[in-house]
Symmetry: C2
Subunit: 243 residues, 2 copies
């Protein structure tokens, strides 16, 4: 089941950190590393720091975008050191791990890490349904990237070992693509009805995304919402694409 | 209270790991790094990897022996990835953290880490009263040194934050020096009474140390034991040193 967890590293600067992350996840029984536009990979520094986790590096998937990295996931969690001025739901990595492991019965779960210097961008955060925080010293809260990956992988393993196999969610959650198609559909309709002004969008779509993210939409709920959108604007050509 | 925790690194090979460990502990609000015979320190790689935790490096204490590093501690915990063929008590780092934080009201607590390649030696383990294990994948259980320090410091911080201030131990535990004086006294007496053959000591003292380590001796109990030893062999000149 731990093989359903993707560790997604966004735009990593130092290849040594990729190798150290590979080692970190392998010690905890995870194996899937996904690299979004890494600056340098493969690289000998990555191999040196992997220190035996060569198999994880060899099977790492390089993606051109975070959206590609998240394809098919049922939960994407952004890992962040800072409190964010957001309406995203934010939990500790310990609580996140329990939730994430529980979700594995439904499909793949992604843990998303930002760059070494700046963490996750707001656009990257918006692709996540949940934020997880490593409780740290407020004045010095920035863990090394591989150290963050180690703590998160550690918590996932501990949660997995203690998971009592509670009853799985009754209804399947929407996948990343289903959610994205919904947001695109929603935005088109909002433009058509002139609620969203393309010249002055403000933060409308971002706020709507966050609102829906917190609710962890189920697949059937997305169908219902898209049904409503279609009813609002039946001529929308994009709404005919499959759900 | 977290300032009472010493992170003790034994014979570290790579100075970069010392710097990364300094950063790791600072993110969790710890500050005391103790280095037992590091191969290279100070060093620019340590400073580079500390990444802002220069104060922790600057105040790091370098010791010539583990015994010196443990002076004045009331609990020394050996961190080990492997199961050991020992009669030491071994717990998970999560359970250890709860115990260790609880002990801080009594005095300093040390977390002892071995070398990058081989971990803690048996002699180093014998100086500890408790072993703590990071639950990892059995086939690939060796975390990077700084990653281990990060997980341990993380668990200590979480335990500290959730510590409900239970009633402190009623009686003060013995310090490292009190225990060592007791073991020396015991060994002298065992030789005198010819229970211990210096030509063929087998593992007698090691087994006795482990036995007493598990019981977490209190100061008064050590006084009682030394009183017994003195009564057994009143002429022992070493027994007159202060407890």
């Amino acid at each position: 089941m731990l093989n359903r967890i993707r560790i997604v590293l966004c735009t990593t600067t130092h290849p040594g950190n990729i190798g150290a992350a590979a080692r970190a996840i392998k010690t905890m029984g995870l194996s899937r590393l996904v690299l979004v536009t890494p600056r340098l990979f493969p690289d000998h520094q990555a191999t040196a720091m992997a220190s035996g986790a060569d198999d994880v590096l060899a099977s790492a998937v390089v993606c051109a975008s975070l959206a590609e990295a998240l394809e098919g996931t049922v939960l994407a969690v952004g890992v962040t050191a800072r409190r964010r001025d957001l309406s995203h739901r934010m939990v500790s990595v310990r609580d996140m791990a329990l939730e994430a492991v529980h979700e594995l019965s439904q499909g793949d779960v992604a843990l998303v890490f930002g760059t070494e210097m700046a963490g996750l961008s707001n656009a990257e955060l918006d692709a996540c349904q949940l934020l997880a925080n490593i409780p740290a010293e407020p004045d010095f809260s920035s863990l090394n990237l591989a150290a963050s990956v180690q703590v998160v992988a550690y918590e996932l393993r501990q949660a997995f070992l203690q998971d009592k196999g509670e009853v799985a969610r009754e209804f399947p959650p929407a996948t990343h693509e289903e959610l994205e198609h919904f947001y695109q559909h929603l935005e088109r309709v909002l433009r058509v009805i002139k609620y969203l002004d393309p010249e002055n969008p403000r933060r409308l779509m971002i706020r709507l995304r966050r609102l829906f993210s917190r609710s962890r939409l189920e697949r059937d709920e997305v169908s219902i919402l898209r049904g409503i959108l279609k009813a609002l604007h039946p001529a929308d050509e994009g709404s005919s694409r499959p759900l």
